[in-house]
Amino acid sequence: MTTTDTRSQSTTSTLRLQVNGREHELALDHRTSLLDALREHLGLTGSKKGCDHGQCGACTVLLDGRRVNACLILAVTAVGREITTVEGLADGEDLHPVQQAFIDRDAFQCGYCTPGQICSAVGVLAEARSGWPSAVTPPEGGVQLDEAEVRERMSGNLCRCGAYANIVPAVLDAAAAELPAPGIETAYHEGESR
């Protein structure tokens, strides 16, 4: 839990964050974004700082399985949530299927946006499994990921190298290769992850 001064005067808190399955205790200034907590305090530099305004997606991580912009989340608000960064996706030496698909498809050039692209794609696949529509999903029928769907769903991740032509096929490969897996918990408010 967060240790917060009861008179709400303190501008720092001692808190515990669950990151990639491990618990960390940190003393943080409230201004610290989740992104800065990960990068500067925990040494997890996979998540990147691009714009720091929620416009580029380079900082994308998973919070209770949902993709979010870590730059706009204050670390103190992430207490009790399960945080997954790009460092936490692989299973030992076995890459996550999305990571493997990015390599197979050469879906990057400079690589700066790649961790955010990959975390976002993991979120996209979970959202699609849960039947979440996008702006281009037809009203009737379920979600079928195709190029238009992936481009729309991944629009929150910018790539200044313009590697989209390979990112889209990589995400589609990962979607096609998916083993049956649970969707994200849509009724998160009724679960234990509050």
Partner: protein, 332 residues
């Protein structure tokens, strides 16, 4: 960013009390706008009261057949809700047309309604802005105003409200439930937002300690089910609207319009309910010519500036296109 205290609210009344007791305090929802504004120096609260752990995250039917959406529901959950998609398509489409997948996972219903304008002068603390610093002036009139208001603006401010969601809620006659220092109350969404008039610093009629706790969506009717949201923007996805329309239509057996609902986005300080167009259309045939005439009537009140004059025709075209689609007729 200036240092600030942080507290987690455990009940709406407690959250309101915390804000009443500290004039420099603000509620924190998803943070997608507030944290950014703090980083830009536009906002500098002394205390953030986190309202995301309140029990305000349910989507449930009301006794009268409508739907009550908790203010803490994330935009993505509401957009994906099967009841919303079936009964109020314009609402789901408006949400899905806004921001990115990541931001929709963070942004709350209450925060979406209370987000601030994206006018570049408001967001740049080195520039004058009557909304940010009353009395300093509005450089937008003679500066960058391409994205700004054409309806209901004042000489003091031509900001637009950036929400897509609120435009659909305006068309649906949604109501907002509020817990405030004086107790609970409810407001029509149309009465929540204000025109800039003499005091553009206030976007809404709310007291700073008023907490939006829920949005009430009325019982679904044909003009809610036969509805859509159409958004024009500078790129295909992940951009604010330069113009948008939420529209719903129902036809009588003889083909005339029995009910029509139209609200415009990105044209005013608030979601712009097109009441003139609606009354001009009701009872008349559902033809592209009628839609065009009504759209022109609604936009007759527009007072565009040189660089946003295109929004007049754009908004008219959006109305005609949306209603033509809903009526199943070819556009004129």
């Amino acid at each position: 960013m200036k240092p600030f205290a942080y507290a987690v609210a455990e009940a709406p009344v407690q959250a309101v009390h915390q804000l009443s007791a500290r004039p420099g305090a603000k509620f924190l929802g998803g943070g997608t706008n507030l944290v950014d504004l703090m980083r830009l120096g536009v906002e500098s609260p002394e205390l953030l009261v986190d309202v995301t752990r309140l029990e305000l995250d349910r989507i449930e039917p009301t006794a009268t057949g409508g739907i009550l959406v908790g203010a803490g529901v994330r935009n993505s959950d509401l957009a994906a809700d099967p009841r919303i998609r079936a009964a109020y398509p314009m609402l789901s489409q408006a949400l899905l047309s806004g921001a990115s997948g990541q931001l929709r996972n963070m942004a709350t219903v209450g925060g979406n309604l209370l987000q601030r304008t994206r006018c570049v002068y408001f967001q740049d603390v080195t520039k004058p802005c009557n909304k940010r610093e009353p009395g300093t002036g509005c450089p937008a009139r003679t500066g960058a105003h391409r994205d700004l208001a054409i309806l209901g603006a004042s000489e003091h401010c031509i900001a637009t409200h950036p929400s897509d969601f609120a435009v659909a809620l305006a068309a649906l006659d949604a109501r907002v439930q509020i817990t405030g220092p004086a107790g609970d109350r409810a407001l029509a969404l149309a009465d929540l937002y204000r025109a800039p008039d003499e005091d553009p610093s206030r976007d809404t009629v709310l007291d700073p300690a008023d907490l939006i706790t829920a949005v009430e969506i009325p019982t679904s009717r044909e003009a809610h089910r036969n509805s859509l949201y159409r958004k024009a923007r500078d790129r295909a996805s992940y951009a604010f609207a330069v113009g948008s329309v939420a529209a719903g239509l129902s036809l009588a057996p003889d083909g005339t319009i029995s009910e029509v609902r139209i609200a415009l986005g990105a044209v005013a300080h608030k979601p712009w309910r097109a009441r003139r167009a609606e009354s001009a259309l009701t009872g008349n045939p559902a033809t592209p010519e009628q839609f065009r005439r009504a759209a022109e009537l609604e936009l007759a009140a527009a007072e565009p500036l040189p660089d946003n004059a295109f929004k007049v025709e754009l908004s008219q075209n959006l109305i005609v296109a949306a209603l033509s689609t809903l009526a199943g007729v070819e556009e004129a």
